[in-house]
Every structure is written in structure tokens, then in C-alpha cells.
């Protein structure tokens, strides 16, 4: 027990929260951008997975981690475009289309993985590249805090930067205003000449961009290989974190950090020989409990409003 406490109270623990939260923050922002426009992006999971896969493969082929990142993000956006086309042009059910894309991504990546590497489990045999960590001297000089926030993966910094960019986009720009209007009352937006379909397309593309960054982090930073279904529910946790944060990117980030904390804790607990089957459940138990508390508080607020 003592070792757990020591683990939690260390600067290393905070560092690892930020690390494991990175893909969750991207997923949360992806969920937020589409939700604001009235589209629930269930396919975040598949988009992240696709990006993680192509990031590894293209970085291996080109020898450049950055090309890998680009390929990952493009693949994720293509999946977002597919979802947008199914939902907005073909008018299929959003949730069903999202689930279909998730299943497709899972199967597609595994079969390509097998064709390329001969392995159905992971891409360990493929020599791929990871994106760099950034050593920012002035951050490192800060006592204690420096150890927590310096030397992170480049995408970790981008994740936190993105939180503020997304917040700015939604609350300060014309596009953000249109997204909110389309999400809340599409008829109102349409009646003043705002194209609902176009705004939703843009929202899904941005959502795909975020998912792509999150996915690329998983296989090109968090670890240095692709493994089947390696997103492991992070897209859905992103949806949950977004629900906690409402339409605020900052709130969503806090939600993502909460789940990141749970995940980091589960690794620490593994150190004291708790069975991993139990510790692995931790982030998801957190998700459920947090959503129940959130839903209850929102319900009582709604009652107060009526």
C-alpha cells in the first residue's frame, strides 16, 4: 500500500497522467467538435485505430515519423468523410453507420497488418518511427513542476494547445457560432442561409482530425508499434469525457484528465500485484461512475429550471 502511495505522490505519476491523457484529450475534442454541431461521432474509436495503423505503416515506408502522422490523420479524416457521406447524404442512421465504421476499422487494420507483417497481433516486426519528445529548457528548470510537464511527446503539447484552439473556435469564431446553431436548431440556421450539411461536414472533418492525432499518438509515441484494437475504448471514453464537459473544451479536458488519472492509477496498482484484469477495469468503472454522477446532477439542475 505504501508503495502505491509513494507512486501516486511522485512527479512521475503526474507525468504519466499527462501522457495517458493525451489520446483521451484528442478523442474528447473530436467528440466535442461533432457534438456541438449535433452529430454524435460514435466512430471516433475506428478513426483513431485507422490513424494508429497508417501512422506506423507509412512511417516505416517513408522512414519519416512526420509522414506517418500525416498519413494517420488523412486516413482518419477519410473515415470521417465516409461517416459524413453516409449520414448527411445517404441519410443512414448515424449510430449504425458509426458502429459499422468501427467494426470495419478493426477488421481492416488487422487484415492489412497480417498481409504486411504476417502477424495478426502487432506490428513489432515492422520497423516504424515515433514522433519526438520535446525538451523545453525553460520548462525543465522549474522545480518539481518541470519534471511533470517537461520532456513530453510533441503531441501531448499539441493536445493541450488544441484544447484552447477548439475553445476559441467554438466560442469566438463565425464557424463556431454556425456549428452551435446547426447543432441546436438546424431549421434556424437553414432559415438564415447557413448550409447545415456543410457545417456538419466541416465539424466531422475537424473531429476526424482530432481523432487522427489521438490515434497517431498511440502508435507513434505512447508505444512504438501498432497492435490490434489498440485504441481499447479510448474513443468511447472521449465521448464520455465530452459528456462531462458539456460544450466546453476546458471542461472536456478536465474530464479526459480524470479518466487519464484512472488509467495511470491502474498501472500503479499493477505494481503491487493486483491482477491486471481488475486494474484494467478501473478507467471504465470511473467512466460509468462519473457519468452517473454527472447525469444525476444535470437532472436535478433541469428540474430546478422547469
Amino acid at each position: 500500500m505504501n508503495s502505491v502511495l509513494r507512486g501516486i505522490l511522485s512527479t512521475q505519476f503526474v507525468y504519466s497522467i499527462l501522457r495517458v491523457s493525451t489520446p483521451l484529450i484528442f478523442a474528447t475534442l473530436g467528440a466535442l467538435l461533432s457534438d456541438v454541431s449535433g452529430v454524435i461521432n460514435i466512430a471516433l474509436e475506428g478513426m483513431m485505430l485507422m490513424s494508429a495503423f497508417w501512422g506506423v505503416m507509412v512511417s516505416a515506408w517513408t522512414g519519416s515519423a512526420w509522414m506517418g502522422l500525416l498519413a494517420g490523420v488523412v486516413s482518419s479524416i477519410l473515415l470521417a468523410l465516409a461517416l459524413a457521406y453516409f449520414h448527411l447524404n445517404l441519410k443512414t442512421d448515424l449510430i449504425l453507420a458509426g458502429i459499422a465504421l468501427n467494426i470495419f476499422s478493426s477488421g481492416f487494420t488487422v487484415s492489412l497488418l497480417f498481409m504486411i507483417s504476417g502477424d495478426k497481433g502487432s506490428s513489432a516486426s515492422v520497423k516504424s518511427y515515433v514522433l519526438p519528445r520535446l525538451n523545453i529548457p525553460f520548462l525543465g528548470k522549474i522545480p518539481i513542476l518541470g519534471d511533470m510537464i517537461n520532456n513530453h511527446h510533441v503531441l501531448t503539447y499539441l493536445a493541450f494547445l488544441s484544447v484552447f484552439l477548439v475553445q476559441y473556435l467554438i466560442y469566438k469564431t463565425p464557424l463556431g457560432l454556425k456549428m452551435k446553431a446547426v447543432g441546436e436548431n438546424p431549421d434556424a440556421a437553414q432559415s438564415v442561409g447557413v448550409s447545415v450539411i456543410r457545417v456538419k461536414y466541416i465539424a466531422l472533418i475537424l473531429s476526424g482530425l482530432m481523432a487522427g492525432l489521438g490515434g497517431a499518438f498511440l502508435s507513434m509515441g505512447y508505444v512504438s508499434w501498432f497492435a490490434r484494437d489498440m485504441t481499447n475504448g479510448r474513443g468511447f471514453i472521449g465521448l464520455a469525457a465530452q459528456a462531462l464537459g458539456g460544450h466546453s473544451a476546458i471542461g472536456g479536458m478536465l474530464g479526459a484528465l480524470l479518466f487519464g488519472f484512472a488509467e495511470a492509477l491502474s498501472y500503479t496498482l499493477q505494481a503491487i500485484q493486483l491482477p491486471s484484469e481488475i486494474t484494467n477495469m478501473l478507467p471504465f468503472i470511473f467512466t460509468i461512475v462519473a457519468l452517473i454522477i454527472y447525469a444525476r446532477s444535470r437532472l436535478s439542475k433541469l428540474h430546478a429550471l422547469r
Binding site: T173, P174, L177, A181, E184, A188, S191, V192, G193, V194
Partner: protein
Amino acid sequence: MKAVEMHNIVKIYPNGVVANRGVDFEVEEGEIHALVGENGAGKTTLMKILFGIEYPTSGEIRVFGKKVHITNPHVAISLGIGMVHQHFMLVPSLTVAENMILGMEPTKFTSIDYQRAVKMVEEAAEKYGLPVPAKEKVLDLPVGIKQRVEILKALIRGAKILILDEPTAVLTPQETGELFQALRNLAKSGMTIIFISHKLKEVKEISDRLTILRNGKNVGTFVTSEISEEEISRRMVGREVELVIERTESKPRDVVLRVENLEYTREDGVKVLNRISFSVRSGEILGVAGVEGNGQRELVEILTGLRFGAMGKVILNGENITNQPSHILRRKEMAHIPEDRVELGVALKATIAENLISDRYYKDPFCGRMVMKPQKIREFAEQAIKNFNIRADGPDSPVMMLSGGNIQKVLVAREFTSDAKLLIADQPTRGIDVGSTEFVRKKLIEAKDEGVAVLLVSADLQEILQLSDRIIVMYRGEIVGYFPKNEGLTEEELGYYMLGVRRHEESRIKEALIS
């Protein structure tokens, strides 16, 4: 100069419904032109065509003399046409200013110049004499102000022709007065206003000229001052309408519903019902008058088992039914025509037949031991369609396909055939055409004559006065007026009580509860 000329407009919807059969419609610049007609006469469709929401099957449109093709609202807006819809096109969680500038945002670098937006709104509000709180969220505003925002939204986009689709349906008399004043000012400054309505009194009051549509055709354009209400309604329905419903003499018998000291505090802590006591007897209609939002909605919801937590006693046929849920109450012979027929009254996607039996599907003769009896259901539905004059293809067409008036008739048919002892009718003729209104009112009288106790809640004072035997007036959750007889009572008199100007003595109000 003619602001709008629409020639020989035909609109046939993909499902075969013909909404406009060659309509000619002309509006002069700077006039207030009323477009009247029954529900389903094609008024809204014609205006949707003018605003580019629908595209005509054939026909020609000229705006300020120029031939135009209005393919979408954006085109309409750029031609100087603005429309205020019946259901507001506003985003509730955004501020007034944000709603105003949506789609034409002033920017500073990449962000919205909110200060300038607020200024734009305030300037426009000043210019047109329509004050709005620019920085408040729309969801916090009363209906009248929301409508003002809608009007201003059209004006700020350069509208010179303003279409208003039944703008007074949701307004209190005071708000209506303010709206009319604003419209007159706008017309004076050169604005052309098209006013869709079927409230003839308002049409007479506000419009310069009017056009009557019937069954998708223009049946006449008149100078308003030269045509009487009776003449308008005759042309609207193509026959004489008894705007005055003949009221039979009532012979009240036993008390059916007894409400004693009903009190209710809403979730937000506001006491919306305070010491409400009254009774309704078999064979009479008790009218509940009041400006909307004075507790009538909560009262009806509590009585019909849709809202719980009330204090006091509600007694139906001698049995205490306080806070019982609706399905229990229905078995105790209560019928309910809800205010919001689409939300609470019918299932839109279900067929007419299914809606007609939705309160009795489990009973004889519609259901056997295991399965429903489609033949019996069909027979019953066909009979109801005939008896209640529902205009539809047949019992199997979805209610969604019907006009508002016919949806209401389906609802009325169900509630009137349920053999109830108590009928609670909440705004039974709101938003439906003259013909259907007359029909529903006659049915209410008939029900009374057959010994049903009727509680009629209505914001339409004419309806209250025409139908009720006794009247209570609600104001801020209390009964402030009680009229045991209806004779000689005027709308003005009722108005004083509705607005809280006058109030009966406690002892008189207590008489509403007849033992």
C-alpha cells in the same frame, strides 16, 4: 408599385397532395396584406414558395416587378424577403445578438466582433422601434420578445417584404397589441407586410387589404374595410359559418368533479396553484379563462394525471383521485383533449384507426384474448371518420398526413366516444380552421347535453363565452373571478379579471365549489 406578384402558382407535393392550384396573389408596396383561409387552404405553402423553402411546380413570381426564381431562403433574403415562422427559428442557448448575426457575422481577424454585433442589433432595434435585450440568451425571453427578435432578424438582413405566419397564435392580448403597433409603424415607413391568419378579428384590425384562399385557390382579394367578418368567413369555407354557436339550455345534475383547495408548487419553487376550489356538474360546461401561464396548464396536468405532487383534494365521482396517473384516471371515465395535440394527443406516425383506439385497444370489442381484432377496429374507425367528418383517405392513413383541424377531429373523435363522465378540454380549437372549430364546439355542446361534465380551458374568450355555463378566471395561480351565469358578460369584463385589475370577493369565489 407591386411588391409581390405571384401568378398561377401550382404546388403539387411529391406525395400527390395539391396545395396550390393556380394561385394569383399580389401585394402592394407598403401595405399590410392579410392572407386568410382555413387550415390546409394553402396559405403557408404559398408563403413558403415565396420564401424559397418550397419550389413551385409551375407559376411565375415577380418581386418589385422583376421576375425571380426563388430556389432557397438565401435567394429570398437577398431579394429583401423576410419570414417570421410560426415556430421561431431561433437558437435558444445563444444570445439575441448571436441569433441576429448568424450567417452574417461581423469579424475582427478570425473572431466574431461581438461588440459590433451588439451595436448593430441595438441600432436596428432603435431604428425600427423594436427594443430587444441584445446580450440576453433567447431562452430567457418571453414569447413576445422572441417574436420581436425574429422580426428584427429579418429586418437586419434588409427585408423590405415581411411575411408573418400566424404571429398572434402564441401571444397574449397585450403582446398582440404591441406587435400590431410595431407592424403599423413598419408599414408606415414603407415596409410591405404579409400577415397569415385565420383570426378574423385581427385581420380586420390590422390589414389594409386581404386575400382569401380556399382549397388552394384565390377566392378574392378585398379592401379590408369593405368586407365584413361574416363575408370573409363565408368565402373561406364556402358556406355560412355559424360564428355564433347556439347554446342549448343546460340542466346540470350531480357533481362529477370536485376540486378542493388544490395547491401546487413547481420544481423551481414557484407556487403556481393556490387554493383552487371548484366543481363541475354533469350536464354543464365550466369555463376556465385566463391569460396563458397563470396556472391553467399545471391545473390541467394535475387533474389529468400528467403532473404529480399537488396538495389538496381532487374528487371524481365521489372518489379521491388526487395525484393518480393518467391511465388510472382514464379507466375512471375521464377524457382529456390536451392543449398540445401533436405532443400529447396523437401518435403522428400511427394511423387514424390506431389513434382512435389508443385508449381502449385492450378492451372489448377491439381485442380478444390474445390478439387484436382488425375488422372491428376498422369498422369503428370508418364510423368515426364519417361521424366526425375527418377528411382523410381512410382509417389506415397516418395522422401525420392530416391538417391540424383534422388531427384535432381524430382526437375529439376518440375522446368523445370513450363514454366518459368528465371531459377536460384544453384549448380544443387552438390553431384549427373555422369549419373544424365550429364542429368541435358543437360537439362540446352535444356532450354536455348528453350529461357529460365538461371542463373547458381556453385562451379564446369568445369560445369561453359561447360555450360555458359558469366561468372561473385564473390569475397568478388563483381563482380571482367567478361568474355563475354567463348572460351579459363581455370579453372586456372578463379581461379585467384576467389581468388582475379586478377581483371578486372571497365568498363569491367560494361559490364555484358547488356541493
